[in-house]
Amino acid sequence: MSHPYDVIIGLEIHVQLQTESKMFSWCGTEFGLPPNTQTDPVSLGMPGTLPVMNRKAFDLALKTALALHAEIAPFTKWDRKNYYYPDLPKNYQISQYDLPFSLGGWLDIPERKDGGGGGRCGLTRVHLEEDTGKLTHAAGGFSEVDLNRAGIPLLEIVGEPDIRNAADARGCLEELRLTLRYLGVSDCEMQEGSLRCDANVNLHIHKDGQKIATPIVEIKNLNSFRAVEKALNYEVERQYAKWREDGLTIKDSPKTTRGWNDAEEVTKPQREKETAADYRYFPEPDLVPVVVDEAWKERVRASIGELPAARRKRFESDYELSPYDANVLVEQGSDVADYYDAVAKSTGEFKIASNWIQQDVLRTIKDKKQSIAEFPVSPEALADLINRVHRGELNTNQGREVLGRMIETGDSAEVVIEIGGYKMVSDRDDIATAVDAAIAANPQALEDLRKGKKKPEAVKGFLRGQVMKQTGGKANPAVVGELLEAKLAELLA
């Protein structure tokens, strides 16, 4: 890509923390309940009610910030951000303004197969606030307010403008979501709004040795990874075309807001406020400041566990997996990675375990829309099956069939093998008889080998298949190969 410009992208991400109760009250947080049933006097902002900080939410926020290498402020306070909006019951939002609980930090973007990615995205700050409610515009000019979401703990992660292309923006967001899921701090469902992304983008155009910056645009409503990538690519081209048309730069035009229209795949201008917003921030008098001491920080740090980047590395070094295989397993989430860890450890067959999980396990749970926790074959049971194949009790095809039965019945490999009569035939006389029969039944094959009309491996593969067919698939493939080679050598000599 040789454009005459650099793309400058900064992400602003809102994450709903997974807590049992809201940020400042004891109200529940379950998703999908009928409107306004997940509320209490505090989250409705009723007169006389007071906010009380949810310490668990603060713990989760700390955990996230620590995992993102951010610096934790020893003293942090709450502020009120005042503005009128019907989805904001108090008409102010409790947020953090000048003393957020964390500053800085970074996230590494994993390398992609196409060689992209691999950069580091710096973070400006991470702060906590309460979510607002939801406004739906009903027919007849009415608007309906649902405050179920009002007061749910929201983490705002503000990235530095370090990202240089749409694919990296997507990569950064995907890695962030994976990290948050490993941390168990959020379910990060973009469709449910628990992970929301806005992107700031502009261009630095190179012209006559000068660098010209185009006006910054904030793109809202990005509710899928695909949308993030598409919207940014669209916006980059739009900004370049616009600049070529009107030559406006960052100095001529303030930041504007555009929304991503998923159906038309374009960004569209959003209604601008006529004047700059004045939020009249001031310290929230109903809450006391939070002092985070070393002990608290260490206790939270100890709960972080292994993060995706570290796990990919460990899978590559300990289990000698390719970066591709390691990533496939890790990006499925920590449950799948744990599953693999368990199977790999109890078989010692790292690559084979990875193949079985990628090919059989993941396909099954994807087809059935299950989570790995719901998958009926435990890591121990799968390891047992893999070991049996490895010991030669079953061949690979039999193994696949046995696993299929295990998934259906929930039985162990031992039981399925016993009932299903799966047993690999290794008797050399029986196999020799089958080899002879297969060659006799296919004289053309021998002919092809003699004349070299076809590749010998293809012909041999065909004959091996015929032998397996005759033995009902039970023949030990190693013995078949060995006896077939010997017989053919004898016949062709």
Partner: protein
């Protein structure tokens, strides 16, 4: 019943000499005959009687009863009571019935107190005269042409007129102490954080505090004990043990070093008030106190700092009353002035609702606060005021290194006439000149009756103490109360 204190009524109730039902009937009758004072904005005789009967039944059954069992307590209408009108003296909340109790209400209920009506107040507790109420002013029982102080004027008048033996008010800049002074009773503003604010409809969150009105210190101590204590629904409530204020009240203080703040005797102080306070100093000297002059050099900035901080917080606290979820919603929000047709109907609905729902003083303070917090001005006003607040606190810290309590007048003048200061907000704001600094510093303050003017108007003596020193504050005040009989004086009310 006249002259009755909560303690004396409790003694009779516990001895079986009277029943709570009969007691509250007498109070209800008196409330009816003194309706002209406009003390109660809501009083439901049936609910009052039900509570009394329930307590009587409990007593009869020999069940344990609480510290205020069967005693009526009048409640400032700023405190939420489940399913009862809680209007904050405002048209905005005329139809508001909260689905929850304020923590102090829960505590009163647990103590067996009878919630005896909601008392009148300045709208959203903003004012010093109870003239800003949407329900009309309350009259001072000592002189019905005069104000009862504010904003807790209804609760002060309730006790002064013997409409309830004790009551609760709230104090943001003096709203308990000043009405107590001009109504001739005891009023106590506890340390910020001593009493939970949960369910207190906020005016200025960092200054508001709930406290008792009573005829004497024993009742104030009793009520304070009941309502104090940590509450996990109020993050600013402090987890500190609550002393038994009643038990220690009559123990003379271990040390009686009394500071007289130079700045409390300046220009604007009524000579009769000054004379009464000087006499109080003499009484303390006679009782063996060491009187020392102290200085609170920054107290002159108290009023300006307060009128930045309090409106700033109120502009935010009152933003929720926009007609969307609760509070008054205008019926007509069609454009009225040129340009309004360009506004979103939702914005016009909020504007019309707030415009109709709030009275002029509330609007004035919302405007002040919005301005003080706005970009470009916050540094000049709000942040300056926070610095002043810190300096005022430092002044008190310094002074309390030398003395145990600081003494002065509560209010610069006795009760003024209704309507006298309504056109002059600044004159009205100066009514709280001596009380405001305690709220800015978060320390406890107490007003006790210390005299009557020639025209028979009560005068209050203010005592201030370090944070959480309520016990010593009460004991020090008790030294004065024992030596005088001002607390036994009652207005000559024609019933």
């Amino acid at each position: 019943m006249n002259n009755a204190t909560a303690a004396s009524l409790l003694a009779k109730l516990n001895a079986g000499e009277i029943r709570s039902e009969d007691l509250v009937r007498q109070y209800l009758d008196r409330a009816e005959s003194l309706k002209r004072l406009n003390v109660f904005v809501h009083l439901d005789p049936e609910r009052v009687l039900d509570q009394a009967r329930a307590i009587d039944a409990k007593r009869r059954a020999g069940e344990p009863v609480g510290a205020l069992a069967g005693v009526p307590v009048a409640i400032k209408d700023v405190l939420c009571v489940t399913n009862e009108p809680t209007t904050c003296g405002s048209r905005m909340l005329k139809s508001f019935r909260p689905p929850y109790d304020a923590t102090v209400i829960t505590k009163l209920k647990d103590a067996g107190a009878i919630l005896f009506g909601k008392t009148n107040m300045d709208e959203f507790a903003m004012g010093s005269s109870t003239e800003n109420s949407a329900y009309g002013p309350t009259l001072n029982p000592w002189d019905e042409e005069r104000i009862p102080g504010g904003s807790s004027g209804g609760s002060a008048a309730a006790v002064a007129a013997d409409l309830a033996p004790v009551s609760l008010g709230s104090d943001t800049g003096g709203s308990i102490r000043q009405p107590a002074a001009v109504c001739g009773i005891v009023g106590l503003k506890p340390t910020y954080g001593r009493v939970s604010r949960y369910g207190l409809i906020a005016f200025a969150s960092s200054l508001d505090q709930i406290g008792p009105f009573a005829h004497d210190l024993a009742d104030a101590a009793l009520l304070l004990k009941v309502i104090s204590g940590h509450d996990d629904r109020d993050a600013t409530s402090v987890d500190q043990a609550v002393p038994d204020y009643t038990a220690t009240l009559d123990k003379p203080p271990g040390s009686l070093r009394i500071g007289v703040a130079r700045e409390f005797f300046g220009e604007g102080l009524d000579p009769e008030v000054e004379a009464a306070v000087r006499e109080a100093i003499r009484i303390y000297e006679k009782a063996g106190a060491i009187i020392e002059e102290v200085s609170l050099p920054n107290s002159k900035y108290g009023v300006p700092a307060y009128y930045i901080v309090a409106p700033a917080e109120c502009s935010s606290n009152l933003a929720r009353y926009d007609g969307t979820i609760f509070g008054h919603r205008a019926e007509d929000w069609s454009p009225k002035y040129p340009g309004e047709e360009n506004l979103h109907p939702l914005v016009r609905m909020m504007m019309a609702s707030r415009s109709e729902g709030f009275g002029p003083e509330v609007k004035r303070r919302i405007m002040l606060g919005t301005f003080a917090l706005s970009a470009g001005y916050a540094d000049q006003y709000y942040n300056q005021a926070l610095k002043v607040r810190r300096l005022i606190r430092n002044d008190f810290d310094e002074a309390f290194k030398k003395v145990d309590v600081i003494l002065g007048p509560t209010s610069p003048s006795p009760a003024f006439k209704l309507g006298e200061r309504t056109a002059d907000p600044l004159a009205m704001y100066l009514s709280d000149i001596y009380t405001i600094t305690a709220n800015l510093a978060g320390i406890p303050g107490l007003s006790v009756p210390c005299g009557l003017t020639k025209s028979n108007l009560p005068i209050g003596l203010q005592l201030l103490a370090p944070a959480f020193a309520e016990e010593n504050l009460l004991r020090t005040a008790r030294v004065f109360e024992r030596e005088t009989d001002w607390h036994t004086r009652r207005p000559g009310l024609a019933g």
